[in-house]
């Protein structure tokens, strides 16, 4: 069998294509970005002209996916864990409407917060919405389970969540592909009121969802991905969710784990398998990447039952991603003292690239802040967040996409003046426009710097929905045209930038100051792409 080396995210992208999706909808976010990029670059996806453009944010992405499902086609929406917060409204409600064409929500969690504000566990969202969640343990399962998820979604009449952590998203292994399926034909929902959640319908559909729960549990029980591995040593039974199974088995390279193990990759949790494990073993160890979802479920509230250990009792760390060493320790293995990191080693934190325009913006802003005082620059999420670190130390907040503008507004409402918001172009169109509207409606005294590098830079230079539209959007929302200012973030323009910021501070109202210069990485990326295209055309 032909094996292709694929990242976990790429395996999901390939499986979705092979399962006959007609569209992928997504907003970039590490570690989920490459699912969509893989589909964008795939030959079959291009030939079939599968929808594969970026959406403005995760909410618009998931809603569009639901619309495609309404029309009978298979579709996938992709996002990082915190992106699901943005899409939570439609996510919760689409569980109640159900789906028509198979719909998969691929969510990449980031335990240890390699590139995120938190390490929230998306399985809780799946449980909250009461829909099936698939959590593959390796790249092949990521492929197989995604491939099957579309048919499963259609069978269950519900969206299915694919949940993967960073370590599976960004690890490569050999993957065997399955047969390519044809796309679904256009097909209206049988009940044209299926997606109508007026309370009179919504109550009925919610009851339908509740009524499906026992059946979903049975399907979990039968799932080939939920497995019971026998073991002779019954003092301990181990429950491993998703990728953690590998960390356990790494400690038994010949596959000879002495303890009985239940491997969970398909939720709701397989109750009978867990019951069997509890019957056979004295104690249980629950190993899961993320929050202790299964552990909480199994832990006996009144302390009368089987002892359960895991992240809650300190057997495993409460926070951060797991690894084989954590499992070794939890199993009582003595590890040899490893080589020590020499004292001479220093940290090398991420930093703005040489030539990045954000540097020039922060140099200028810092000069003004020195005059008006620290602690008044609200920001959010993008490369510009690195302005929180030395040598700039310019920005004071990073909470969620778009919160720069709205938090600045709240602080201005409280009486702080002057206040600044620093937001990127793509973050502005993702979640900044509605906040700007609030400011305009109330004539808030805010100075909004849109640091426009004409791309979604942090995730690798994807197309930004904001490109060429920012001034028009601001004018349309109602910002006074004379207070929409533009500068080019270059060293030579330093004095001019400082002057513009000072002038806008003096204005009591909404100012939008746009610093526009293309991301240096994006320029290099486009050059590479053009070179590649030219070479291809030359052949």
């Amino acid at each position: 069998m032909q094996r292709n080396l694929l990242l976990g995210v790429e395996a999901i992208g390939q499986a979705a294509i092979d399962a006959g999706i007609s569209g992928v909808y997504a907003y970039p976010g590490t570690p989920s970005t490459e699912i969509t990029e893989y589909i964008q670059n795939n030959r079959l996806a291009r030939e079939r002209n599968i929808h594969r453009e970026w959406s403005a944010n995760e909410k618009t992405a998931l809603e569009a996916a639901l619309g495609m499902s309404y029309a009978g086609k298979r579709t996938m929406a992709c996002m990082k864990h915190v992106g699901l917060n943005v899409a939570a409204d439609v996510f919760m409600n689409m569980a109640i409407t159900g789906i028509n064409g198979g719909l998969v929500v691929a969510v990449a969690d980031d335990p240890s917060q390699h590139s995120s504000q938190n390490e929230q566990d998306s399985r809780f969202y799946g449980k909250f919405a009461m829909i099936p969640v698939f959590e593959p343990s390796n790249q092949q399962e990521a492929y197989d389970m995604t491939y099957e998820a579309f048919a499963f979604s259609e069978k269950a009449g519900l969206p299915v969540m694919m949940r993967i952590p960073t370590r599976l998203a960004h690890s490569r292994s050999g993957v065997v592909q399955k047969m390519v399926q044809t796309e679904n034909p256009l097909k209206m929902p049988e009940n044209l009121m299926q997606f109508m959640l007026l309370p009179v319908y919504g109550r009925k559909y919610y009851q339908n969802l509740l009524d499906k729960q026992d059946w979903l549990a049975e399907l979990s029980e039968e799932s080939a991905y939920n497995q019971y591995f026998e073991g002779k040593e019954k003092s301990l039974g181990i429950v491993c969710c998703g990728i953690t199974y590998n960390y356990l088995m790494e400690n038994y390279p010949n596959g000879n784990c002495p303890y009985p193990v239940v491997k969970i990759a398909h939720y709701p949790v397989p109750q009978k398998l867990l019951q069997k494990l509890e019957n056979e073993c004295d104690e249980l160890l629950v190993v899961e990447e993320g929050y202790p979802l299964v552990e909480e479920l199994l832990t006996d509230f009144f302390g009368k039952g089987t002892k359960v250990s895991g992240r809650l009792d300190g057997t495993l760390p409460r926070r951060g991603e797991l690894n084989p060493d954590h499992l070794a320790k939890a199993l009582g293995r003595e590890l040899e003292e490893p080589l020590q990191i020499p004292d001479t080693l220093v940290g090398r934190p991420p930093s703005l690239c040489a030539g990045c325009g954000h540097q020039d913006t922060y140099e200028a802003l810092n000069e003004v802040i020195a005059e008006v005082g620290n602690g008044r620059v609200f920001s959010d999420i993008g490369c510009y967040t690195l302005g929180a670190l030395p040598p700039y130390n310019t920005i004071n907040t990073c909470v969620d996409m778009g919160a720069s503008i709205t938090m600045a507004k709240g602080a201005a409402d409280a009486g702080l003046s002057p206040v600044f918001a620093v937001i990127g172009d793509s973050t502005f169109t993702h979640s900044g426009i509605t906040g700007l509207l609030d400011c305009v409606v109330e004539k808030s005294n805010v100075n909004i710097l849109i640091v426009d590098n004409e791309t979604v830079a942090m995730t690798g230079g994807q197309d930004s929905s904001a490109k060429g539209r920012i001034e028009k959007i601001c004018e349309g929302v109602g910002v006074a045209p004379e207070h929409i200012r533009l500068f080019v973030p270059l060293k030579k323009n330093h004095d001019e930038i400082v002057k513009i910021i000072r002038e806008e501070i003096a204005y009591n109202g909404v100012s939008v100051i746009i610093g526009r210069r293309e991301c240096v990485q994006r320029i290099a990326k486009m050059k590479r792409l053009h070179k590649k295209e030219a070479a291809k055309n030359g052949q």
Binding site: S115, R172, N323, E336, L339, V346
Partner: protein, 193 residues
């Protein structure tokens, strides 16, 4: 057979082409492979690492356990030290000597390497210089792969085939230059061993 490799460097230095070459080699031989890499925020001039595992039997963990790496292959000297706890005491450390200095407090590492070389096998190579001498300054990564190749349980010819697979699309000349760089790096290490 198994080789567990920690690939280290700084975001943007391109350690992934080394991983890709070994990946192609492993695949050609029907070996099992897992390779975990760093994407996202850290790529912006920060420390990046890739865990590369190759074996003739299935591999469970995407991450190498502490003390089990056979090799640290670093394209930057300071970064080679960051992952020392992963290295097996019998393992080898192969590092470029050309530093990537994008921080103000970059340390002097001479004494550290002298001390360390009493404990473990270390190969230090000026890959940037050797790449220049072979006529392809961009092939420093392939010099490093060559220098590390004696410690990887895949035959030289198979790794070269992997390099050919990776650079094939860029034309014969590029393939040749990268293979030359690989051979120069390998010769350097074999002279030291």
């Amino acid at each position: 057979m198994k080789t567990d490799i920690i690939l280290a460097g700084v975001g943007g230095q391109g350690i992934l082409s080394i991983a890709a070459s070994l990946g192609a080699a492993a695949l050609n031989e029907n070996y099992y492979l897992k390779q975990a890499e760093t994407h996202g925020m850290s790529q912006r001039g920060g420390a990046v690492v890739s865990h590369l595992r190759i074996a003739d039997h299935p591999i469970y963990s995407d991450l190498i356990p502490t003390g089990q790496a056979d090799l640290i292959l670093s394209v930057e000297p300071m970064e080679s030290l960051r992952y020392l706890p992963y290295l097996s005491p019998q393992g080898s450390l192969v590092t470029n000597t050309a530093g990537f200095v994008n921080i103000s407090n970059y340390p002097d590492l001479e004494n550290t390497f002298d001390e360390l070389s009493k404990k473990i096998n270390i190969i230090r190579i000026d890959a940037d210089q050797i790449a220049k001498e072979t006529g392809n300054p961009k092939a420093s990564n392939m010099v490093m792969l060559g220098a590390a190749s004696p410690f990887i349980a895949i035959h030289e010819e198979i790794i070269i085939k992997g390099i050919e697979t990776i650079f094939k699309a860029k034309g014969e000349k590029i393939v040749e230059m990268n293979v030359e760089a690989f051979k120069a790096g390998r010769a350097f290490s074999l002279n030291k061993c």
